[in-house]
Symmetry: C2
Subunit: 106 residues, 2 copies
């Protein structure tokens, strides 16, 4: 599993519309891509115009070049791109052995 | 649930020792903190000295001031702090409705 980590900044005041759009983009476009496992969007508490889009792919190649060079990438960007205040900063991460859950609630 | 997102840069060449240390710090110190749910560490693919520490807490206050002002914070920093190339950038995030899993594998 590979984590796609997209650090997103949106225009002020567009939170509700952006959250609706990215939910739609995730469920109608990204969820159908090859190698997609799961995706979620988190809203910044200190930085209210900052979002993290966290997507789990089977492999790095499923995201790039796979999804990035598919026709569906343009569909996705048409849905979410208008909200971006600047280009998202995207990097990928791999799991390490450091993972702990609370024994009672994790 | 609140996500603590710590963006960490370590000194070159210290990956294996850092990963051992942060796994130990997570399991021996952070996992015992009040309000802790789960924690994991992801290693950068493009930026090999970059790590994300992602911790789920019940509430923002469980992390700060809770854990941050407890005696255990010094224990944690004694374990992982020596590896930091610069102070970690820590912000908090809240879930949004935008969450999708693959129906077959998510």
């Amino acid at each position: 599993m590979i984590l796609e980590h997209a650090d997103i900044r949106i225009a002020p005041g567009a939170n509700a519309a952006f959250e609706e759009a990215i939910q739609r983009g995730l469920s109608t476009v990204i969820a159908k891509a090859g190698g997609f496992r799961s995706g979620k969007v988190m809203r910044g508490i200190e930085s209210t115009e900052r979002y993290l889009l966290l997507i789990e792919w089977d492999t790095l190649e499923d995201h790039t070049p796979g999804f990035r060079e598919s026709p569906q990438f343009a569909e996705w960007r048409a849905i979410v791109g208008p909200f971006f205040a600047q280009p998202p900063v995207v990097e990928h991460f791999a799991a390490t052995a450091a993972q702990v859950s609370s024994p009672t609630r994790g």
